[in-house]
Amino acid sequence: MKLLRAWILALPAYLWSGWGAIASLLMLVAAWELVAAVYGPLVLPDPRTAFATLYALVASGDAWPELAATARRALAGFALSVLVGSALGLAAGVSMTASAMSRPVVTVLMGTPPIAWLVLAMLWFGASDGTPVFTVFVASFPVVFVGALQGARTLDNQLRTMAAAFRLPPRMMFVDLYLPHVVSYLFPAWIAALGTSWKVVVMAELLSTQDGVGAALAVSRSHLDTATTMAWITAVVGLLLAVEYLLLEPIKREVERWREPHAAAGAGP
């Protein structure tokens, strides 16, 4: 709850520091507008049309069920990968042999394109929720796994000896030594995995399901409706930006206040 208070108190200053980020996003929108003006609305509708379409989708209530379905699948896959990836990664990190053995496997997992997993998942799970959830899980699992593995492997032996010399009881060993260290590796990995989940779920839905943002994109594509396509893309990207910069980044800052400041500290999102 201390965290919640700190988050609310720090929010205005944080948002203020975000002007630079907002400016660069607006530049991107300007470039979009320029391309739209050059190539015409069939290739790329201008941002205002896209935003208006999105607004209409939201206002009519059509957008929410699709977004909810997508979020449900993304979060389910993400939660699975966080649970399994963190647990297995930590376990592997404790043992030298296990971490050496798991490294090539993780490289293979990371190198396999998500679309390949999607094809397999479609064969295994058909048109059910299982397909996107599994694809998301497989795509974000290695990210979490590697974070957890490194967190467990890099635990400072000197600090462990210190803790033993001061006879820290097991509970303090866990709460004051292992947990903060491991979380400092896990948390960034979770954030990265969430971004992966959100992207992969849309791709999986595009090919395998009847509802969700991906499916809506497939429909608008078959109608050559670029305005709706851009509206959905904007919605997906906007949601990710909002979650990442309004929720996760401030939490990360608060949790990792003890870290040495980065060169970019204070530069905003």
């Binding site: 000896t161 210190m162 010399a165 006879r167 820290l168 004051d176 206040r257 870290r259």
Partner: protein, 281 residues
Amino acid sequence: MSAPRLRVRGVRHAFARHEVLDSVDLELGAGRIVALVGPSGCGKTTLLHLCAGLLHVDEGTIENGFATQAFMFQQPRLLPWKTALDNVALGLAAVGVARNERERRARELALRLGLAPVDLGRFPHQLSGGMQSRVSLARALVLDPELLMLDEPFSALDVGLREELYGLLLAHLAARRMGVLMITHDLMEAVRLSDEILVMAPRPGRIVARFGLDLEPRRRDEAWVHRNTARLLEEPAVRSSFGLPGLTPAPTLGGDDDTGSLARLPPLGPVVALARTASRC
């Protein structure tokens, strides 16, 4: 309460098949400061970790009669995610002292050791090396241990800071009957602080000589420390342990006065006793 002691008898230790320590004996009583000196890699740290119970004793016995102990390492080894105050209070938290009480005691001692009130709320990376060392010292002293173990804790600090911390440490010890076992490769530091100096030789680590210093540490001035360090350096056991060449008849020190007075001093003064008492009991 009978005076507690630390007794080490015939301790050997090996890492894999590499012998680190060979039949080490030492004894430390309450209120005494014993310094282990020797070159890097002679097994000093291993011996200290054995005494602290951080390593398992394979051969020989270590009887530690001190009820409580604290350790100060070569590096500050602070928890980077805890503030200075919480780091100082770490050992107190480990023995279950309530938060208010441990923060009060930690704050009081930290301020006495020269930390500023604003430093207490800072994280280790925001503190200078000297401040981190103070936190590390405070973390050990706040426990008020009967046995304090120091593993070259001041070796990375500059002369002024080191001298200040010696003073703070000695002032803190004066009011207490704390046994201190310290290791150092700095002979001057050993002469400055300890009542007894044990010289270790490497491969395998063993104690080759024992010296006593009778003047109370707080009354030693710089000249005294220099004089006795020089004398210690003339000891054959010390020279061979550190791999120094045997003494030539003409020492190479710059000032004639210095070298002259050094040579002329009697080996054992009545107060300034740098007495070689025994080697390997």
